[in-house]
């Protein structure tokens, strides 16, 4: 959006425009253009009515919940039903498949391992789902399953960064930051991009997976947590009540306003507003996080308890954020790296997440929010059809083919898209590369990925990078 096409708000003069640009586009953008635009002849145009938050075309969805299953869940035990793999269980893979194949830990020439769990077809769509996901089995007709995902990285941190930012290199904005930048927020009191983390660990990619990269820091994901202060430094220092805080803000406001008048620097007005927003967040965030008024049956539907931190609780909170207009909510659940203990760990992980994921989709649907909200479920890559370790109970990292699912936001419900080959090794049909997935996601949110750019240090950077990416039209209703 900030690439040679600066949509300015039909607000008023350049002072406003300047502040808007500072905040929206930041000083990182092609300042060339920006400075010239504002300083030069085009100042006159600032009076023309333009939208600050302009999409390229009418968006089909306006919000996103991304359930990031970090560690990379095994598609073979969950979604990708492969009877042939089961048939060849215990045999070595065909050598031609292994040509130029690198595995992270195992000797690629390891025995094939059939699914450790049973599959059955569900719903009108007849989607194959494993016995580990009984709740997901109930929502398959609302969901689009993509079985032909493919990525370039097979180590956790680079792959998570790639999935989050479109690049294996650090320093790029994450999807949520791009959308915060592109769409802004619909809630004055909350950040546009919120992050939760549950599971055994934080994501391998660290805070880079929710970083705003070269976009202004205002687009960073803000991590919420479900115990203690939901947001860092949200509570007043010990012993200070809201009255002191209000008095302080009023005093600050009065002094800052005097300074604004003395210096003429509009940045001071923005500072005043930042403080006011912070003050509002101090009450809106706790209200949001307080689940005591969530009906019992809803909490049960998710399998969440008000005072127990869990993925399920984060799902309830994600829905509450969507209701309040938060643009992008990302839930990291790092637990899926089953090099070993595949059976038991998957049982536990599915026990921790299946019910809540299904409940989230159903709850959003019930509330009429699913149409305009995209729910994404997936990890950073898949797992090998070959075994890792003794005991037939582990799989290594596998980037060639894996599964993610999406629901809502104009994706075709009840569709299983793409296929891996018979052994689940490579994509057999309708490959969806990470950048294709991003392009499609942006499309649903109203952006042409090839034009959704940000100028940084002489380059027009895109979420989808420099390689060709395609919008997967077949995924879209």
């Amino acid at each position: 959006m900030c690439n040679g096409e600066y949509p300015t708000a039909g607000l008023s003069g350049p002072a406003i425009a300047r502040r808007w640009f500072l905040q929206q586009c930041g000083v990182g953008l092609g300042a060339a253009a920006l400075g010239h635009l504002l300083g030069g002849a085009s100042v006159a145009r600032a009076s023309e009515p333009v939208a600050a938050k302009l999409t390229h075309f009418a968006p089909r969805a306006k919000q996103v919940i991304y359930l990031f299953m970090a560690g990379a869940p095994s598609q073979f035990e969950l979604f990708d039903y492969k009877p042939e793999l089961t048939k060849f269980d215990g045999t070595l893979p065909p050598p031609e498949l292994l040509k130029n194949y690198r595995a992270a830990f195992i000797d690629p020439n390891s025995r094939l391992l059939g699914s450790r769990f049973n599959f059955a077809q569900h719903g009108k769509s007849g989607a194959w789902v494993s016995e580990l996901l009984p709740h997901f089995a109930n929502i398959v007709d609302d969901v689009t399953i993509i079985k032909s995902m493919s990525t370039d990285a097979f180590n956790h941190a680079p792959a998570q960064i790639l999935m989050s930012t479109g690049s294996q290199q650090f320093g790029r904005p994450s999807v949520g930051s791009w959308l915060s930048y592109g769409l802004g927020s619909e809630n004055k009191d909350l950040p546009a991009f919120v992050v939760f983390s549950s599971g055994q660990k934080g994501p391998s990619g660290g805070s880079a997976v929710w970083s705003s990269g070269f976009l202004p820091t205002v687009h960073d994901g803000v991590m919420f947590r479900t115990s203690g202060d939901p947001v860092l430094y949200l509570s007043n220092p010990s012993g200070l009540d809201d009255t002191v805080q209000r008095d302080t803000l009023d005093t600050l406001g009065a002094l800052n306003t005097q300074r604004l008048e003395a210096t003429g620097d509009p940045e001071i007005a923005t500072r005043i507003n930042s403080f006011e927003l912070a003050f509002r967040m101090q009450s809106s965030a706790p209200e949001l996080m307080d689940l005591t008024n969530e009906p019992k049956h809803i909490m049960e539907m998710y399998g969440a308890e008000p005072n127990v931190p869990s993925f399920a609780k984060n799902c309830v909170l994600a829905r509450r954020m969507i209701e309040r207009g938060v643009r992008f909510v990302q839930l990291f659940h790092e637990a899926w790296d089953q090099h070993g203990n595949l059976r038991n760990d998957l049982k536990k992980n599915c026990g921790d997440t299946d019910k809540a994921c299904a409940a989230l989709v159903q709850d959003l649907k019930m509330r009429g929010l699913l149409d305009e909200t995209i729910v994404i479920w997936g990890g950073e890559f898949g797992r090998t059809p070959m075994v890792q370790g003794d005991g037939d109970d582990g799989r290594d990292h596998h980037p060639n083919a894996f599964t993610v699912w999406v629901a809502g936001g104009g994706f075709k419900p009840g569709l299983s898209y793409g296929e891996s080959d018979e052994l689940g090794f490579n994509v057999g049909r309708d490959k969806v590369h990470v950048r294709d997935f991003h392009a499609t996601l942006l499309h649903q949110l109203g952006f042409d990925h090839s034009r959704f750019t940000f100028r940084t240090q002489g380059l027009d950077a895109k979420l989808t990078g420099v390689e060709p990416a395609r919008v997967v039209r077949d995924l879209i209703a």
Binding site: Y6, A17, K53, R102, F105, G206, D265, L459
Partner: protein
């Protein structure tokens, strides 16, 4: 306030946008930037009389719209047409030419950019690019004027331009002002009045040192009657050690400094010695050319000093990925790419990284050029050196002197020592070393825990990648010997290991918990190791046998149990709790060592017999994300069939000295022999024990990641699409043709490359640095694209000024301090920053420089200001990073991937300057991150400057900021006089430097009164606010009231702004 909020609220980016998105999606309005570029303040209006500059006006249009397909990249080039090269653009094909000088109507280019036919139109519609009417007119006009070509401004070495003539004559203080004024006059603008003394004092203090002037200094400067008060002030500030801290931090941004590895493990690393070096370099005004040479190739300078080697830490600020499944070569290559980017952005000011995967689309850097430059950097080891402080070096020298003294005493008191030693030597020389045959090993994937073992030419293996901390790695091999009587395990040094190894622990040491050996016929799976036949080991010897010691606390377990390390017997005692270690003491732990395991019975080798070795390493800690491994770093296994085996393991240096004839031995050889011999002499046992104890007193030193040039050069290949798995043709070190030539004798190396970077002929290096210095003073560089002076970068607002400064900088001997003086004493710098509505409209970013720029200070400075204002600031310069209080949960899962150590400093270290705060890349320190401090995962030559509610929450509520409020209150009560008014003034000055005006005092008095009333009414509790501890002898109610006033002042926009 709130009623008026919506407009501003809209300005708050992602946070709050309250108009319906959907409605707006139907409005499309394109504001064509390029129009601004042509007619904006960049170069003034193009008038018919002015010749149009290809470089400044035309190339940007062509670069943006055409070069992607008609530029330097031959692979992407369409229709075999190049528009970036003069000859190609005007050459005639089939009677047509893209450009016919003087004849726009005959030029194909003009036809194509104006064509209404989408088939013919350029750029093609699918490119989403279009030229504006203004651009088309300009291109036509330029062709009409003869299509004069000129090379890109930044690719021609800067020449000193003539000082422009200006109408105004009394404003300018130095040549900078002439360039600025000339521009202002063209724009019909006036410079602003000079800033008042207080403002200027505060500004220049923050700019040079990042610290506020103490009130004594403020008073002294205000009272200074000298005409040179300002110049004197600048000299004092440049001489302050805090100057180096401030400017080091800018450089650290560009070098992407952080205190951890990044990626998943994100382990802590020690690189602060490099930070200290940078601080010192700035303080000593090390000339910039030397500053770069030492950082890029200090290790290759003749007789390189420790400092010069530490300087190469610059390029080791790249990240390291040691997660389980990685290929070390892949991430070594990633680090090299990153170093190229750092060199490109921080030194050259050119975006070289585009050419990593393909030929640059806009600048003339080919894909091959990229790898030729990379070849300079591709020949170093990823080394981690031990570094000693001055004190430590002295301590070490003292120990060595003492030991020398003791040894001299021995010689004195035992006149027969020569004979005794000769007798020992005669025996020692006859002890024959059996012939050892190296075993080529196959590592069992399932037991190495993700650690990768890279083979070396000498048959050894270097452990790289993930380092498990408790494991039983198994490896197998074969031998063509008929029988085996003993196994030799060499632990070798390697430049890629911590402190040179031989281990992988933070000390470069290791511990072998148990050595085990089994055999089985070929084809037996290693998974069935239990079924293999054990080989009994009778005894073992080693050339290092440290005293028995309980394992150090740096290798903790969750449930502590007894674990000891000591001599070689501990590796064959069948106990996991004991281990042989190489860690004898800090002075002698980083040497190659070996052990020999003698088999109980000679092992007969049937054809096809496979031997398995299990090298259990269980003496690491529990946390593999925190450098707790104690693994073998580089090792080699060899076998012998000799029946005669040595009784003692003589260290390799001793054996080497022994092998020499007396006459050929050097003094160090003799010393080595003597020092070893005395350990074998029973009568000298006590002396040797004393010496051993002395060695323990040598300090460990710290470590620093550095570069070490390898002796055997690596070959460098162009990598197809930048993929390390697809090497193409070999390339030789070299530089792109569009930059200055690299002159060297023979094959140029990294040192030549370093010198080339800062050659007087380099067109971009001086400009890039001068531009960034300018940016720190005016908010924007003379070109805002600070790391891209290439054709896609922003043309400079004052091209002649940039060139003049660059030449001046080089002519001054690359003196950075001189450059500061020059800019700071200009009238341009000294202007007031107040801004009229008119000027804001004309020049919101202050690119014309009709005023000074007012902006929020950087994150570290936000913190330093609060600390300084409160009186809490600890001004210690240099040393290891510190751990000020931070929310503990951030460093624990599930917020962080692995559990991280945050050893909170509760003492004075928590009040150190922000630049010393420990930076984990994956868990940025929140109070700095909120204010846009970079995470260190990419080079940053220009920080964003955001203004967010998270910043407000941090200032208001973060514990350290609140601590500062209380500290300021205490200082105010103690030092601020007795009246409310004097105290308010005092507190205000400590934050804002200036005195408050009447209306400001009134607002604060009112606030103070209200808080006092609430405290008196019991609505606010001093106990709850201050904690149970008292505030000294001070009235606790008053202390609370003033803490709240102080907190307000510390939160003022002005307090955290430079104006």
């Amino acid at each position: 306030m709130l009623q008026d909020a919506p407009e501003s609220v809209r300005l708050m980016g992602g946070w709050a946008l309250d108009w319906p998105t959907r409605l707006l999606t139907h409005m499309t309005l394109r504001v064509r930037l390029i129009a601004g570029l042509l007619t904006g303040f960049g170069f003034g209006q193009a008038s018919a009389d002015d010749p149009i500059s290809y470089d400044r006006q035309i190339r940007p249009i062509l670069s943006k719209n055409c070069f992607a397909c008609h530029g330097p990249d031959a692979e992407a080039r369409k229709a075999d047409l190049r528009l970036d090269v003069h000859g190609a653009a005007i050459s005639v094909h089939d009677g047509h030419a893209a450009i016919v000088p003087g004849k726009p109507d005959e030029s194909d280019l003009v036809h194509r950019i104006t064509s209404a036919d989408p088939e013919n139109r350029m750029p093609p519609p699918e490119s989403e690019k279009t030229l504006s009417e203004e651009e088309i007119t300009l291109v036509r006009e330029w062709i009409l004027q003869g299509a004069e070509w000129s090379s890109h401004w930044a690719f021609t070495p800067p020449q000193r331009p003539a000082k422009p003539q200006t109408l105004g004559t009394d404003w300018a203080r130095n040549p900078i002002d002439a360039f600025v004024l000339s521009r202002l006059e063209k724009e019909g603008l006036q410079p602003s009045l000079p800033a008042d003394r207080e403002t200027l004092l505060r500004r220049v203090s923050l700019d040079l040192t990042g610290l506020l002037p103490p009130l004594e200094v403020v008073d002294a400067v205000l009272a200074d009657p000298s005409d040179h008060w300002y110049e004197n002030l600048i000299d004092r500030l440049l001489a302050s050690p805090h100057y180096g801290e401030r400017w080091a931090r800018h450089w650290m941004d560009a070098a992407q400094y952080a205190d951890s590895d990044g990626f998943e493990k994100d382990k802590p690393r020690q690189v602060w010695a490099w930070r200290d070096w940078v601080i010192k370099a700035f303080n000593e005004d090390l000339p910039f050319d030397q500053f770069i040479v030492e950082q890029v190739a200090g290790d290759m300078l003749p007789d390189a000093t420790q400092d010069q080697i530490v300087a190469t830490g610059f390029l080791r600020n790249s990240m390291i990925n040691e997660e389980g499944g990685i290929d070390p070569e892949q991430f070594r290559m990633e680090a090299l790419f990153n170093r190229m980017e750092i060199v490109g952005r921080a030194v050259l000011g050119v975006t070289v990284q585009c050419a990593q995967c393909h030929t640059h689309k806009y600048d003339p850097i080919t894909h091959t050029d990229y790898f030729r430059m990379l070849a300079f950097l591709n020949n170093s080891a990823e080394a981690c050196d031990t570094v000693y402080s001055q004190t430590e070096q002295e301590q070490r020298a003292k120990v060595v002197a003492l030991i020398d003294e003791i040894e001299a005493d021995v010689k004195k008191s035992d006149p027969d020592w020569r004979e005794e030693m000769a007798a020992w030597e005669a025996i020692a020389r006859t002890s024959t070393e059996p012939a050892w045959k190296t075993v080529s090993l196959t590592f069992d994937d399932s037991s190495v825990g993700g650690q990768k073992h890279l083979p070396r030419e000498d048959g050894s293996y270097v452990a790289q990648g993930y380092a498990p901390t408790q494991f039983h790695p198994k490896m197998t091999g074969k031998t063509d010997l008929q029988k085996v009587t003993a196994v030799r395990l060499d632990l070798l040094s390697d430049a890629n290991l911590p402190r040179g190894g031989p281990g992988r622990s933070i000390y470069g040491a290791c511990a072998l918990s148990e050595f085990e050996m089994r055999v089985a016929p070929e084809g037996t799976s290693i998974a069935e190791y239990d079924k293999w036949t054990p080989v009994k080991i009778a005894s073992a010897i080693a050339d290092v046998n440290p005293r028995e010691r309980t394992l150090g606390s740096e290798f903790p377990l969750k449930e502590e149990r007894k674990r000891v390390t000591g001599s070689i017997e501990m590796a064959i005692d069948g106990k996991h709790e004991t281990a042989w270690t190489t860690d004898i003491d800090p002075a002698r732990r980083n040497q190659a060592r070996y052990a020999i395991f003698r088999l109980a019975e000679p092992l007969t080798i049937e054809p096809g017999t496979v031997i398995a070795f299990r090298l259990s390493q269980l003496h690491g800690g529990w946390n593999s994300d925190d450098n707790q491994n104690n693994n073998l770093g580089r090792f080699r296994i060899s076998l012998t069939d000799a029946d005669a085996l040595p009784e003692v393991a003589i260290p390799a240096p001793v054996r080497a000295a022994l092998a020499l004839d007396q006459a050929a031995r050097t003094e160090p050889d003799n010393r080595t022999l003597f020092s070893y011999w005395r350990t074998t002499e029973q009568s000298l046992e006590e002396v040797s024990a004393r010496i051993d104890a002395l060695w323990q007193a040598v300090p460990s030193g710290a470590t620093q990641l550095v570069l070490h040039e390898r002796e055997t050069p690596r070959t460098t290949h162009r990598l197809d699409r930048g993929d390390f798995l697809h090497p193409a043709e070999e390339v030789q070190p070299g530089v792109p043709a569009f930059l200055n030539p690299l002159v060297a004798e023979g094959t140029p190396d990294r040192l030549d490359f370093a010198r080339w970077l800062v050659s007087r002929e380099s067109p971009t290096t001086a400009r890039a640095y001068v531009n960034r210095v300018w940016q720190h003073y005016f908010g924007e560089g003379l070109t805002a694209t600070t790391s891209d002076l290439g054709t896609q970068g922003e043309p400079p607002s004052h091209p002649d000024l940039l060139d003049w400064l660059s030449v001046e900088f080089m002519d001054s001997g690359w003196s950075i301090k001189q450059l500061h003086r020059l800019i700071l004493t200009s009238a341009t710098y000294k202007q007031a920053s107040t801004i009229s509505a008119d000027l804001l409209e004309r020049d919101p970013y202050n690119r014309m420089l009709a005023r000074a720029t007012r902006y929020r200070v950087e994150g570290e400075t936000v913190r330093d200001i609060a600390l300084a204002a409160s009186g809490l600031l600890n001004t210690t310069v240099g040393g290891p990073s510190v751990y000020p209080p931070a929310p503990e949960f951030l460093f624990q899962p599930p917020a962080s991937y692995g559990p991280k150590i945050w050893a909170t400093d509760h003492g004075a270290n928590q009040y150190r300057r922000g630049l010393y705060t420990f930076r984990f890349r994956s868990v940025p320190y929140p109070a700095l991150q909120a204010f846009d401090a970079p995470a260190g995962d990419a080079p940053c030559t220009r920080r964003v400057r955001s203004n967010t509610p998270i910043q407000a929450l941090t200032l208001l509520n973060e514990p350290l900021f609140f601590d500062c409020a209380r500290g300021l209150a205490e200082t105010v009560l103690d030092e601020g006089g007795q009246t409310d008014r004097s105290r308010i003034e005092y507190a205000f000055r400590r934050c804002a430097t200036r005195r408050p005006v009447e209306s400001e005092v009134a607002v604060l008095e009112q606030f103070l009164a209200k808080q006092r009333a609430r405290i008196a009414a019991g609505e606010l509790s001093p106990d709850a606010i201050l904690g149970a501890e008292s505030g000294g002898a001070r009235d606790r109610g008053e202390l609370v009231a003033w803490t709240l006033v102080a907190r307000t002042l510390l939160n003022l926009d002005e307090t955290i702004s430079r104006q």
